[in-house]
Amino acid sequence: MVTNFACLQTTLHNFVLFFTITFLVQFKTHSYLCFIKILKSSVTLFTMETEQKSIRALKCEQSVLSRADGSVMFSQGNTVVMASVYGPLEAKIQKELSDRMYVEVNYKPKTGMPGVAERGKEKLIKTTCNHIILTNLHPRTAVCITIQEMQDGGTLLSASINAVCLALLDSGLPLQCLVAAVTCLVDKKDKIILDPCIRTVKEGYKAMFTFAFDSQKYNLILSHCEGQVPYQLFQEAMELCQKASHIIFDFYRQAVLRKFSKELL
């Protein structure tokens, strides 16, 4: 297990969260929580009213692009992203890995050149993809994943991960599991809002979390947090997102069902 803590602080009552954790090895949410519990020893428990526990409408169109091996236009509420997958391709010599596939992720912003923020997202998506794709089945090859931001509805990162998952499904690359990402934020009144819309995000928040879970045991694959909230809230938010991820997995199932509907109907 590898974890990167950018910054970690423990105060008496508040558990300060400002870090990004990427798991290269999947492990149970429970153990993740234990792990965090070890880090903070004395935390008073908060009981929170969590209000908005909804996920916005999901829509997708698979194989939207005629040239890509797999592609999807995905919307989650007002957030729209497009993802494409080309692969397995011949890898460039510098990028070639002898034992597995090289995963290249390009995240394209709507305006301007990709900068540091985009590279950060690319890295998160890349590690997630490395986890879900059975990369060792195609050594010395590459897969090229491109994500195009089309409409910002507040939850670009989680929508991107979900779109990539759908595009990978569409491309037919062998996957170990599926992944569903859910974003939630803690607003200024300490309420947890699931899948916030752009207006809510712009109003300001205490913390924003994005979690990604796998489809087998709903274990945590990725956790990206920014902001500062009590630990209890973090735990609650994660559990909430975990529950919400079930809807996305159901949605995936329906999407695939639609794609191959003729066999079922």
């Binding site: 510098q94 050149m113 990709p114 900068g115 540091v116 590279r119």
Partner: protein
């Protein structure tokens, strides 16, 4: 200039606060060289750091500080500190670069915090030229025909620049190459000297180094030399500023003399490196 999109950039209009320090620009520009000499050295011919004009700064050398590199070295010459890592010989990456002799790739980089003014992460023009000078100097010392079709990479990172970085880099690079067991004709020792109208200062610090300024029309210059002591050969020679050929001869003499003094120090460091290597090998053998 290509925009660096990999890093967060500071505001373009920012500049170093040191420029705001109280100093009379006019006064400084019009300082005559004689006054300049007085600024750098007192009446007893002692420099600001208590050295005599022909004294070099204390030297500290160590090898094997980058565990990932084939060979590495660290040098401290007064406050000038730099690290060198040597990688290879390995296959030439670009096939079109094929050459029968081995190739040297040198990268000379100042750390962003190493100078008074912040330096960019990307190599600037000065660093490129220093890389070229380093490469030309080392090419004369390394037995390139011993590794045909292969390349050796030499990376220099200046951690703190307090004058004479190229001289320190030459010594450090040759030590790193030797510790990486790259065959060489001789060690390269770098040395620098500052010329003032009536005086030569060996191994100048940042303040003592020659700066391009107006009205310094009299003999005033800076010289950096890479010298191979056993072979009695000069493999790097960079001179900036105004001098006569006779003065250059004098400067060269001082510098080569100093290089001959440094040679045993570098040799000693190298000897220790080899002994350590042998010892650790012996331990490994015992363990088996």
């Amino acid at each position: 200039m290509p925009v660096d999109s990999r890093r967060l950039q500071g505001p373009e209009s920012a500049f170093s606060y040191t420029l705001l320090e109280k100093k009379d620009a006019n006064a400084e520009e019009s300082i005559l060289s004689a006054d300049l000499q007085k600024m750098l050295i007192d009446s007893n011919h002692v420099r600001k750091d208590k050295r005599k004009p022909t004294d070099a700064r204390p030297l500290f050398l160590r090898t094997g500080i980058i565990s990932q590199a084939k060979g590495s070295a660290y040098i401290e010459q007064g406050n000038t500190k730099l690290v060198c890592g040597v990688y290879g010989p390995r296959e030439v990456q670009k096939k079109s670069d094929f050459r029968l002799n081995g190739q040297l790739f040198c990268e000379f980089k100042f750390a962003p915090f190493s100078c008074q003014k912040r330096r960019s992460h990307q190599q600037d023009n000065e660093e490129l030229v220093l890389s070229g000078l380093l490469r030309e100097a080392l090419e004369a010392a390394v037995c390139l025909h011993h590794f045909p079709k292969a390349q050796v990479e030499v990376n220099i990172m200046v951690i703190e620049n307090d004058g004479s970085p190229l001289a320190a880099a030459l010594t450090c690079a040759s030590l790193a190459l030797a510790s990486a067991s790259i065959p060489m004709y001789d060690l390269v020792i770098g040395a620098a000297v500052r010329q003032l109208p009536k005086l030569l200062l060996l191994d100048p610090t940042k303040d003592e180094e020659w700066q391009p300024k107006l009205n310094h029309d009299e003999n005033n210059s800076n010289l950096t030399v890479g010298f191979m002591p056993s072979m009695q050969q000069i493999c790097a020679y960079v001179h900036e500023g105004v001098s006569n050929p006779e003065e250059l001869e004098q400067m060269l003499k001082i510098v080569t003399e100093y290089c001959l003094k440094v040679q045993p120090v570098v040799q000693l460091c190298l000897k220790e490196t080899v002994e350590k290597m042998l010892a650790s090998e012996g331990e490994n053998n015992d363990a088996e």
